[in-house]
């Protein structure tokens, strides 16, 4: 069985550590069961399931380290792997930035596992595909979608006495629904730890409705518009910002967080004062393991408070060099929102564009966090609080930093790819050209 209990995992890790002759040794043991089903043109195209169970041993002599991996667990194989890691370590170049391993810690437990997801079988996956394809067929629409479910555990231990274990499940579902003539397209994506929260039929209906409503889109001139970004769209840009909060790049002068003349912009109010982003592994809607893969605890951390950056993410080496706490990057993040529903945000908009999702986002300038990309699968013009008509897709060139200064309103956060994010109403969002893509 690929999913070991905490006790089973610890027993194997302890056995491996007992073989060690190195200065330091760490062991990680991971196992997973992943299944998927993919469909297109209203028919299942591929499906499969795979299991994995693997052990990685890292041996360290001084500042030299070596890693060896294996997926057999008899004593002889385990000892051989330890010796192999030790041999590789002795021959490796020194890493001047090597940090000694961390000792024991009591990590917070988070509720990342759901039995319902672990129970998913091929019949469940086929039913999801059917529930998504069938209503589309009936309305002469075409569905292309994908479901992936994972049950996994990760355990780690080291010669300093650290041990950590987490078992988790996840289910990711997305579907693109297109009109038969290809002039309309809609999209929806949902992800949960607990698959009992997923309703493929109801989700698909949203994509169907968008596909039908986006037929015969009109062209608007590119330019600056008030936009309402649905959470899926908002996440893309916010996540890019959250992946750019590395302290070292900021200290080195090559980040949007670098300050002219040296130092960082930590503590400066760079965003609208209503922007608050934090991470918390125990959040019930976006739970995450209580530890990072380098053994650091994941604790509740405030990243942005009232528009001010309060923390940057550190490697242990860089934190020691700078003499600060080694805050690890967040596993997942939570952006606080408002109380309005998406419908209420639309209702309060005189003129604007509703964006379902973005596509092909790439960095243009790391200095200003400028990104380019396009709208896709449901872009609509809003006038006097109502969706008036579908519009052709736009290319944008925009920075999340500028965007979060032009914040008009936020709605109720929902979960997108493991994070919590509200729909955002933004003024003066920059669209630079039109696309004919549907």
């Amino acid at each position: 069985m690929a999913i070991l209990t905490k006790e089973e995992a610890k027993k194997i890790i302890d056995k491996v550590l007992a073989f060690s002759k190195a200065d330091e040794m760490s062991v990680s043991l991971t196992g997973s069961r992943t299944g998927n089903i993919r469909y297109a043109r209203n028919s299942v195209s591929t499906s499969g399931e795979s299991y994995d169970l693997a052990l990685a041993v890292t041996a360290v002599y001084g500042k030299r380290s070596g890693t060896s991996t294996i997926n057999e667990f008899d004593d002889k194989s385990l000892e051989k792997t330890v010796r192999r890691a030790e041999e590789i370590a002795k021959l490796a170049p020194e890493n001047p930035e090597y940090m000694p391993m961390l000792g024991p810690h009591t990590f917070v437990e988070s509720n990342t596992f759901a039995q319902s997801t672990a129970n998913i079988d091929p019949d469940y996956r086929a039913k999801v595909a059917f529930d998504s394809i069938d209503p589309c067929k009936k309305k002469n629409l075409t569905a292309a979608g994908y479901l992936e479910d994972t049950t996994e555990f990760v355990a780690m231990g080291n010669s300093k006495g650290l041990f950590a274990y987490n078992k988790s499940t996840s289910v990711d579902f997305s579907v693109t629904v297109r009109s038969a003539d290809g002039t309309g397209s809609g999209y929806v994506a949902r992800d949960f730890n607990d698959s009992s929260k997923l309703n493929a039929k109801v989700s698909t209906e949203i994509a169907m409705q968008k596909a039908m409503a986006s037929v015969s889109a009109k062209a608007l001139e590119p330019g600056k518009y008030t936009v309402i970004l649905e959470p899926t769209a908002a996440l893309d840009l916010i996540q890019n910002m959250m992946r750019s909060i590395d302290a070292r790049s900021a200290d080195e002068g090559r980040s949007f967080m670098s300050k002219k003349g040296g130092g960082t912009r930590l503590g400066e109010k760079l965003l609208d004062e209503r922007v608050n982003i934090y991470s918390d592994p125990t959040n019930p809607d976006a739970p995450n393991a209580g530890f990072s893969m380098d053994g650091r605890p994941q604790e509740k951390t405030t990243w942005i408070e009232n528009g001010v950056f309060k923390n940057l993410a550190y490697t242990r080496y860089w934190a020691q060099k700078q003499g600060v706490k080694a805050v690890p990057p967040p596993g997942r993040f939570i952006m606080q929102g408002g109380r309005q529903s998406l419908e209420e945000l639309i209702k309060s908009t005189e003129k604007g564009i509703l964006v379902t999702r973005f596509w092909y986002i790439r960095a243009v300038d790391p200095q200003t966090l400028l990104y380019t990309g396009l709208t896709r699968d449901g872009t609509f013009y809003i006038e006097n609080g109502k969706i008036k008509y579908p519009v052709k897709n736009f290319r944008f060139n925009e920075s999340p930093i500028i965007m979060l200064n032009n914040l008009e309103a936020m709605g109720v956060p929902t979960r997108v790819r493991g994070n919590m994010i509200p729909p955002l109403k933004i003024r003066d969002f920059t669209f630079t050209s039109l696309s004919d893509a549907v």
């Binding site: 991971t30 997973s32 992943t34 297109a40 043109r41 028919s43 299942v44 591929t46 499906s47 499969g48 795979s50 994995d52 693997a54 990685a56 060896s68 294996i70 997926n71 590789i88 490796a92 170049p93 890493n95 001047p96 595909a129 292309a144 979608g145 994908y146 992936e148 990760v154 579907v175 693109t176 297109r178 080195e252 002068g253 090559r254 949007f256 670098s258 002219k260 003349g261 760079l270 596509w359 092909y360 986002i361 790439r362 960095a363 243009v364 300038d365 790391p366 200095q367 200003t368 400028l370 380019t372 897709n393 290319r395 060139n397 930093i401 630079t432 039109l434 696309s435 004919d436 893509a437």
Partner: protein, 546 residues
């Protein structure tokens, strides 16, 4: 597949290179393990036959077996430090069958016995039969002759895995040192090396043994202006190639001199990094571009990516048909446009071809991953759309009798599907050099190296940046520009192509990690061209204040 085996290289200090997350399959091994020969070919045949027989006895009407050993070595450095040396090996067997008219696939890691491969075959048949219930139409597979026992080996001169790690570390640290000595503040450099050892057998009677090598040396140099707090980065002008370590042996005939030196089949990493360090300072002082229409002169080190995105992807038949609708998207190049025989993809100067045989290219193999011998074919001829890229279960849709041989899986454990062939722009037939091309340009920009890239899901609207931008005024290069990106529409852009330099300037660029499919698979593909001119393209200014 096994997500725990993925090493996210974005966490390896490559941030400055703006590389996407790169999934690398395989288990960590010692460097010497990359040199042992793997499973003997006679053993592979026995393992394959066991699977072929097992599938047949369970009712499969077609079976192919891929026994794969995939080796990677990555050496990652910054300034005076080695950050990481990654050695991975992944070995296993994947079996694909048709049973009850439906595809089924199963794979087994570390399969060493005939019982293992037979088990994978039986599982694949069971999956095919289960999926057959949800099938709309049975698979229609183009006939394919068997080739018997054959082999193909990439024509490399020096296996990169045989080069001692120390030599590679010395090269990269020497490159980093040169960057710092020439005024750069920071430098990252990486050597990616890949060897695919693939054995393919099918019920058509083919037993194909292939040995494929790829290498990609890259760096990113960053310089900060202390007065303004601004920084500029210049990445390597190297290309990922289907070659051995000889790519790093420089030869004067492989250098294209001009405003900056570019490289063909041999790359001088040290020379390029020195130029890069100086050019980051030049970029800091460069004029910010004035937005507007310009004639663009695009170097092959840049144009490959525009070809990849605006020609390679839209002409993949599975995208045209809608199989990628939920992820990579569909295509503007619909079947009716191809059927009309008069769809102007580009101007008369534009000839685009697919080629899986090009020596030194990333996509070069003898046979593809469903046993089809590789070839070259036209996609756009004298500006008109004439063909797509298609594999055995698709070619009947475009009236072809045999597959074009562009089926690929990135691992033994993933199912093969249609992937992009090397897609290239043919060199101009009339003698024309880059300097002759620039001479006629009144208001233009000369772009070298690839940068930021983005295109919509049907491949109409795109935006590209580069590494180096030079302003052209009245036929002369007037100096460096910055904050440049161009936006266009695929058909408009290729119809604005007025000139292509001759074959003396023809070079390959390429993508080492092109992503497609759910779950996502990567593939490596080259794109060749000579420098080409595009008139009246919309250029935007990307400078912002935060």
């Amino acid at each position: 597949m096994k997500r725990r085996d993925f090493m996210q290289l974005s966490g390896m200090g490559l941030g400055a290179m703006m590389l996407p997350n790169i999934p690398v399959m395989g288990r960590s091994v010692a460097p010497e393990a990359l040199l042992d020969g793997g499973v003997d070919v006679a053993v592979k045949k026995r393992l394959a036959d066991a699977a072929l027989n097992a599938a047949k006895s369970k009712g499969a009407t077609y079976t192919d077996v891929r026994i794969g050993r995939y080796l990677n070595q990555f050496v990652v450095t910054r300034e005076d430090k080695v950050q990481n040396i990654v050695n991975t090996e992944s070995y296993g067997v994947g079996v694909r069958v048709i049973a009850n008219g439906c595809w089924g696939f199963a794979a087994i890691v570390d399969a060493k016995t005939e019982a293992d491969t037979a088990r994978a075959a039986e599982e694949a048949v069971a999956i095919a039969k289960a999926n057959a219930r949800l099938m709309k139409q049975p698979v229609q597979l183009a006939p394919q002759k068997g080739y018997g026992e054959v082999s193909w080996k990439a024509p490399i001169q020096r296996n990169a895995f045989e080069v001692p790690i120390q030599e590679k570390v010395d090269l990269l640290l020497g490159v980093n040192d040169a960057a710092l000595k020439n005024g750069a503040n920071y430098v990252n450099s990486v050597l990616f090396m890949v060897n695919e050892q693939k054995y393919f057998a099918s019920t058509d009677g083919s037993y194909i043994d292939q040995d494929i090598h790829r290498i990609w040396p890259i760096f990113a140099v960053t310089t900060i202006d202390p007065k303004t707090g601004k920084f500029e980065t210049r990445q390597a002008l190297s290309a990922p190639v289907g070659m051995g370590y000889e790519y790093l042996q420089t030869n004067p005939k492989d250098k294209i001199t001009g405003i900056t030196t570019r490289y063909n089949k041999g790359y001088d990493m040290l020379e390029d990094v020195i130029a890069a360090a100086k050019q980051t300072k030049e970029k800091l002082a460069a004029k910010s571009v004035e937005a507007g229409k310009y004639d663009l002169i695009l170097d092959p080190s840049h144009l490959w990516l525009t070809i990849h995105e605006s020609v390679g992807h839209p002409l993949e038949l599975d995208r045209v048909l809608g199989y990628e609708a939920n992820f990579a998207g569909t295509s503007f190049a619909t079947l009716d446009k191809w059927q009309s025989k008069n769809f102007n993809y580009g101007s008369k100067e534009v000839n685009l071809f697919a080629d899986k045989t090009q020596v030194g290219s990333l996509g070069a193999v003898g046979w593809d991953d469903e046993g089809v011998q590789t070839k070259k074919w036209d996609l756009v001829k004298d500006g008109t759309l004439v063909n797509y890229q298609a594999i055995r279960d698709q070619v009947h849709i475009i009236g072809e009798k045999e597959s074009q041989g562009c089926c690929y899986a990135d691992s033994w454990g993933t199912v093969q599907f249609q992937r992009m062939a090397n897609v290239s722009l043919a060199a101009g037939k009339t003698p024309l050099s880059v300097s002759e091309m620039i001479k006629d340009v009144k208001k233009g920009i000369y772009i070298i190296g690839d940068g930021s890239f983005s295109i919509d899901q049907q491949r109409y609207n795109f935006q590209f940046g580069g590494q180096l931008y030079y302003e052209i005024k009245d036929g002369q290069i007037a100096g460096m520009l910055k904050d440049v990106a161009y936006q266009s529409n695929t058909q408009e852009f290729w119809n604005s192509c007025v000139k292509v330099c001759d074959e003396r300037d023809y070079r390959l660029g390429g993508s080492f990690f092109d992503g497609k499919g759910q779950p996502q698979q990567v593939s490596a593909v080259s794109h060749g061209s000579s420098t080409a001119r595009f008139n009246g393209v919309n250029v935007i200014n990307t400078a912002r204040k935060i």
